[in-house]
């Protein structure tokens, strides 16, 4: 349970600036999730906290200590690597027990912990295999186990669940959440899965191109995005984002006129980016209070209990949702309703939210 204070963190790879001054302040016991598209600098940030990358600028404090100069093992952290980094010559048990052995824990205690964690991660039958004889997902779980077994002050996770199957991923997600509730360690968790981010985080930090785009609680980030990027990034399927022209009565979307009230300050003729989540585009019957529109169906994706329906609106594509058992055919026209109460508007140029 330590506070983590990251201030003005900069990372240079040669002349390439990978991080442009990041500030994050994580409370003791807080579960902080870094999300962002591939290459935005999540892993880099995490690795700098871990002490695996040198710090080109700024400061990182864990607890009350500035750790810039400290070795990883002096920082009281455990980490799960994005690419496993299992010791190939050791068995699964050896991999998990390694750090405990290094800390001179009694053998019996090591065994107890390893067995316990192996149980949680369904690794028990694999304990004596070497990494080469494991499947991808199994390796990922060993990497998880190696960190969990240490029970440190601060946990660093780099996409720990990305190779698990859906069921196990759900289980592990809940497991990590419970673990956190029980141990109350401070956690920094990198993922690109915004479901994970939403469900796990106390604080979500959304990064983009080495900068922080927005940070806050999952609710705040999801329901009140500051920028078009955040709006588009959080939520799956992503929010529909369309460049529109403001008309006197509302918006022109493709060929269609969408009657609605707009934030003050927008005038007819302005270009805005209009955003609406697929959940807020429904068959007209499902959404009695919505703004009705009729659009042709382009593509249907069956998710099981729901279907994603891709509509064509002039040059744009919009995604809506229907129940999984609703019958729809590709190519037909469909009467829809837009829930404009949950629509968002962004400056078409800067991407800033217009409220």
């Amino acid at each position: 349970m330590s506070r983590i204070e990251i201030s003005n963190l900069v990372k240079m790879y040669g002349s390439h600036k990978a991080l442009h001054g990041i500030d994050i302040s994580i409370q003791p016991g807080e579960f902080c999730v870094l999300v962002g598209p591939s290459g935005c600098g999540k892993s880099t940030t995490l690795r700098m906290v871990a002490g695996l990358e040198t710090i080109s600028g700024g400061e990182i404090a864990i607890g009350d200590r500035v750790v810039n100069g400290l070795r990883p093992k002096e920082r009281g952290i455990a980490m799960v690597f994005q690419n496993y980094a299992l010791y190939p010559a050791k068995t699964v048990r050896g991999n998990m027990a390694f750090s405990l052995k290094l800390s001179k824990m009694p053998k019996a205690e090591i065994d107890r912990r390893v067995n316990e964690v192996a149980e949680i991660l369904e690794l028990t039958p694999l304990l004596d295999r070497k990494p080469a004889a494991l499947s991808g997902g199994q390796r990922q779980r060993v990497a998880m186990g190696r960190a969990i077994v240490r029970d440190p002050e601060v946990f660093l996770f780099d996409e720990p669940l990305s190779n698990l199957d859906a069921k196990l991923r759900g289980q592990m997600r809940a497991e990590i959440k419970r673990l956190h509730q029980r141990l109350e360690n401070t956690i920094i968790y990198v993922t690109h899965d915004q479901v994970e981010a939403m469900t796990l985080a106390d604080r979500i930090v959304i990064m983009r191109d080495g900068r922080i785009e927005q940070q806050g609680t999952p609710d705040a980030v999801f329901h009140d995005p500051d920028t078009v990027f955040v709006a588009g990034f959080m939520g799956s399927p992503p929010m529909n984002l369309v460049d529109c022209m403001v008309t006197p009565g509302g918006l022109r979307l493709g060929g269609t006129e969408l009657a609605c009230t707009l934030p003050e300050g927008l005038r007819a003729g302005d270009r805005v980016t209009f955003g609406i989540r697929p959940d807020d585009i429904r068959p007209a019957a499902d959404l009695p209070g919505g703004v009705p529109v009729t659009l042709p169906v382009d593509l249907i994706e069956q998710l099981g209990t729901e279907k994603l329906v891709h509509f064509r609106a002039g040059p744009h594509e919009l995604i809506g949702k229907t129940g999984g058992r609703v019958d729809l055919a590709e190519g037909t026209e469909q009467r829809l309703a837009f829930d404009m109460a949950h629509a968002f508007f962004f400056d078409a140029e800067t991407g800033q939210r217009i409220r």
């Binding site: 790879y13 690795r47 695996l52 990358e53």
Partner: protein, 295 residues
């Protein structure tokens, strides 16, 4: 894989790792290295108790000596030929012996193929003299096959001696490359071969596009060392041909030895040695350059 990772440097750490090695090398070799350079600047060292300083005279003499240049030329032929021979045979055999065959058979073949390495140079030289002499086995076999009518004097004919020497040197030197390369092969991730196989790569493509790039550090290291060693390889050449016939196989190292211990011209020998040092240094700089690019 983040190549930028360096273990956090508590300033002195890397030096601590290097210390024992550098101390031993420094303590034992810096004085001799210095001495050799010093010898080359004096006249008649060792023979005279108080040699006179002559500056670069020895270098002038050596550079003006056609014997030096022809030995230099032979050295290049011998070195390049040997290294190529070692590499081709060594790498080829490493690949062959890395094949997926019964482990016992693999152990057997691998062990047999390192045999040329475990005999001392005297024995190697004498044995090859036996095999290559005009009444030796090779001539006998060639004659039996009807390939020759007259026995060939493999080591005594100026046109053949260098080739024979190259064969011997290749035979003697390939196991080193084979073993090093074989070890390197084990570190190449299997997935890369699989990907290449799917991409339609045959044996050569896999070798060229996966194995070689992956083993570049190992190959460069091995090749550099092999080059440096072969460049100054002495016992094998000296014991097999003694630089002859005539001076047909005289290389810089045998010239050095001849100057030192046959002619007792230690200063000149040191001068040739320094010239070898300078040439080898050029290889090394090339190697380090290449390595720098890799990092």
């Amino acid at each position: 894989m983040t190549p930028s990772f360096r273990l956090p440097t508590a300033a002195g750490t890397p030096y601590l790792f290097l210390l024992p090695g550098l101390v031993i090398l420094g303590a034992l070799l810096s004085v001799p290295l210095y001495k050799v350079v010093e010898y080359s600047l004096y006249d008649n060292v060792i023979v005279e108790r108080n040699p006179t300083f002559v500056g670069l005279d020895n270098y002038r003499d050596i550079l003006g000596d056609p014997g030096y240049w022809s030995a230099g030329f032979n050295t290049i032929v011998f070195t390049v030929g040997s290294v190529i021979g070692h590499m081709i045979v060594g790498i080829g055999l490493a690949l062959l012996v890395n094949a997926d065959i019964h482990p016992r058979a693999r152990t057997f073949f691998r062990s047999m193929l390192v045999l040329p390495w475990i005999f001392t140079a005297v024995v190697v030289a004498l044995n090859w003299q036996l095999l290559l002499n005009p009444f030796g086995l090779l001539n006998y076999v060639l004659d039996w096959l009807g390939l020759i009518t007259e026995p060939l004097d493999w080591l005594g004919n100026p046109d053949l001696a260098m080739w024979s020497l190259l064969v011997i040197s290749t035979w003697r030197g390939y196991p080193f490359i084979m073993v090093s390369f074989l070890s390197g092969l084990q570190t190449v991730p299997k997935e890369l071969y699989e990907a290449a196989e799917i991409d339609g790569a045959g044996f050569w493509h896999k070798f060229w596009h996966v194995t070689l790039p992956q083993l570049k550090p190992v190959i460069f290291g091995v090749a550099l060392l092999d080059l440096i060693w072969t460049f100054q390889l002495f016992p094998l050449v000296w014991l097999t041909t003694g630089g002859g016939p005539g001076r047909a196989t005289e290389v810089l190292s045998t010239l050095t030895f001849r100057l030192a211990f046959v002619d007792f011209e230690f200063a000149r020998a040191a001068t040739v040695a320094v010239s070898i040092l300078i040439i080898s240094a050029a290889f090394t700089v090339l190697y380090l350059r290449n390595e720098a690019r890799r990092l």
